[in-house]
Symmetry: none
Subunit: 417 residues, 2 copies
């Protein structure tokens, strides 16, 4: 498998004011092409740093792609430094000069003298046409290493990469666009190390599949890449692996690839023609927001209430004043009454109610920050569960909303609704 | 000026599937602290590449910050490699081990053996507490270079950086005693070019202030940096500049520095002892979520309703069936009745109601995707405004919720509530 190293140049990328979207795009596309990205580097418009990054890239990878620094100004140094590193000389290429002149002529502007350097190239290089701006790119193979220079503006970069660079790479290395098979398994309700424990022996003996675990906002994703003789073989290897992991993790798996928890819930609700309604206290609308992020959610989402105050809980959901006084707003009893209230208000098939303490204030010894009760289910079949989430306010709210979605998902999967 | 190098580790960052937001955050914060970021590097979870990146960083900068790779799994290698590079030995720290055991005990789970390595540290290092997860960070100074290791999950990273690492850096290098004065002016309701037009002459003649405009999610931020002879002089220059900009932009300015629109609304509501309630259709809970993101919002937020379906609008808010039939759910009339409904349900002083078409489906020629009606105000004083937002579903929903907040802010500022 060929290896690639990406370099993004530009001082503006180092202050956090401009996002380096180029290297993200390239990483994704190289991954698609079956080229393994082994590193990325962002450097300012400084000769030394650009040089160091290029040397690191050439040392560690077969392919180095650098973006930015092909413009006409003094701090556009990438091409110059790259040629120095590759030990090739630049010369003025008439054809490029003509093209530049034409570019400016079409805009009724004289070509600034500074732009002339955009027509300088080593004769060993393939010049890559810029469909948008003035800066041509460069493709250079020396000593078995390929160096590609692309412009910094994202539209110019992507167009040039796709139309000019990819065909050259495919020809160079006979890339069979995609023997590998990829899949992501998405899990909720287990921590990263618990998942790892459950599939430890599979990880140790992965039989042709590369396995990576990623924990994110209460979820764990298992990323699988299977590579066999050809696409068919890869698929077969992948299917076996997925089946094995499914046997270990069962209903902790909520979806595959890009499926999110809200999507998994939506899919089940649509399949079973269920309507849903939510009652939220500490999550303050986040749960409803997550479901309505999805286009077409009006098909299964009746609505929700954000009963943040006790008065709202009583007035809209009919939670008993006595329940609130006796057990408190954050209690199993209140969660249950909230669910009952929203289900009868909405006449919905299934619902969830969340009440808890998101913090940072409001906690006590018996009811600490992170304590959350979640009720989920239908009028007939429902459950109330107690959770102790840790983290800051944002994390506690996110975990509470996702857990509610997961409980709904479990209810919808059970088949009793 | 001290120099910094940022390293983000994690194979998932190299396939483009996970965005490296950590290094963007760090770059921005280091810039704020007056530390110059000279380079960034993203590497997979591979010993060699991590080592190479660390060496490059230590060679080129005074400070190296690495994120990720502090977890319990086999491919979490950062700490181990860093200690090798810094030539220090790790040992089991009892105190950290106890903390880990407690972490799992609180969750009623046994500590997996793998997590033990998170309690291994060199005795020369300062251990940085993780307020969220199990992975402690590390601060190590050797031979005049500072190395900081932070966990990968963004929430853990930012919390640890701000609470643990920044104070150490400030002490180490006597930071933030910069001469420069920074301020951000936050604007809603004008586009970037409109803002630019209004302050064009100031931008042309900035008198010692550097001015940068940044457009983001419907907002425009003006970032100002004033640098005079000393701190006092910088402050004076800044104050003059801010006053001049305020004269041009008036009430389009909703806040300064880190103040967000929800915060601006919260501040006014608290000052005027107002309670609020929201009725949302197309934003589906996003507006309530934005306000309840703020700790302590129960002081002024009564609650909200997500009346996604027509039935919910009628049942909870008392919107007339006739209004819905005659004008439609997305209409000035419905918005007005939704506001009236939620205000009388809640008995709140002020409120907002949003109804619109977030798309991608559901649009028509007369009511296209992006059409949103927003009602805001008190029972006595309120307004309904019509908007045509452009963008995808997420953008339309965000703009609608923010616009509602901005209308509430204007109402609260007017003084008629």
């Amino acid at each position: 498998m060929k290896k690639a190293y990406i370099i993004a140049t530009g001082t503006e990328l180092l202050t956090g004011s401009t996002l380096d979207t180029n290297s993200v795009y390239l990483a994704q596309r190289l991954d698609d092409l079956g080229i393994k990205v082994v590193g990325k580097s962002v450097v300012g418009d400084t000769r030394d740093f650009i040089k160091k990054a290029l040397l690191t890239g050439l040392e560690t990878a077969d392919l180095v792609i650098a973006t930015g620094g092909l413009g006409p100004t003094l701090d556009d140094l990438t091409k110059e430094v790259a040629c120095e590193v590759m030990q090739v000389k630049m010369e003025l290429i008439d054809e490029e000069l003509e093209r530049l002149k034409e570019f400016f002529a079409r805009r009724n502007r004289p070509m600034p003298e500074a732009n002339k350097k955009q027509a300088m190239f080593p004769k060993e290089a393939v010049r890559l046409r810029n469909g948008v701006g003035t800066a041509p790119g460069m493709y250079l193979k020396q000593n078995g290493k390929v160096l590609i220079l692309l412009p910094g503006p994202p539209q110019e970069m992507t167009l040039m990469f796709e139309q000019e660079a990819v065909p050259l790479l495919v020809r160079e290395w006979g890339l069979s666009i995609g023997k590998a098979e990829r899949k992501r398994i998405n899990i909720f309700g287990l921590g990263e190390s618990q998942v790892e424990e459950k599939i430890a022996d599979i990880i140790k003996n992965p039989r042709g599949v590369s396995i990576a675990l990623l924990a994110k906002e209460g979820e764990v994703h298992i990323r699988l890449t299977a590579e066999g003789e050809d696409k068919e073989a890869s698929k077969e290897i992948m299917n076996r692996m997925v089946k094995e992991i499914e046997e270990r993790l069962g209903s902790y798996i909520y979806g595959y690839d890009d499926e999110t928890l809200p999507l998994a819930v939506a899919r089940l609700a649509q399949k079973r023609k269920c309507t849903m309604a939510f009652a939220e206290s500490c999550t303050g609308g986040l749960l409803s927001k997550m479901i309505t992020d999805l286009p077409g959610s009006s098909e299964y989402f009746w609505g929700g209430v954000v009963t943040y105050s006790n008065e709202a809980k009583q007035k809209i959901l009919g939670v008993n004043a006595e329940t609130l006084a006796r057990y408190g707003a954050v209690s199993e009893e209140t969660a249950r009454e909230m669910l009952r209230g929203v289900l009868s208000l909405a006449g919905a098939d299934i619902g969830a109610a969340i009440t808890g303490i998101a913090g940072p204030g409001g906690g006590s010894e018996t009811k600490p920050v992170g304590l959350v009760y979640i009720a989920a289910g239908s009028k007939e079949y429902n459950q109330v569960k107690k959770f102790n989430f840790t983290g800051n306010r944002i994390i506690i709210r996110t975990l509470a909303a996702k857990t509610a979605l997961n409980l709904i998902r479990q209810e919808l999967s059970r088949g009793d609704v």
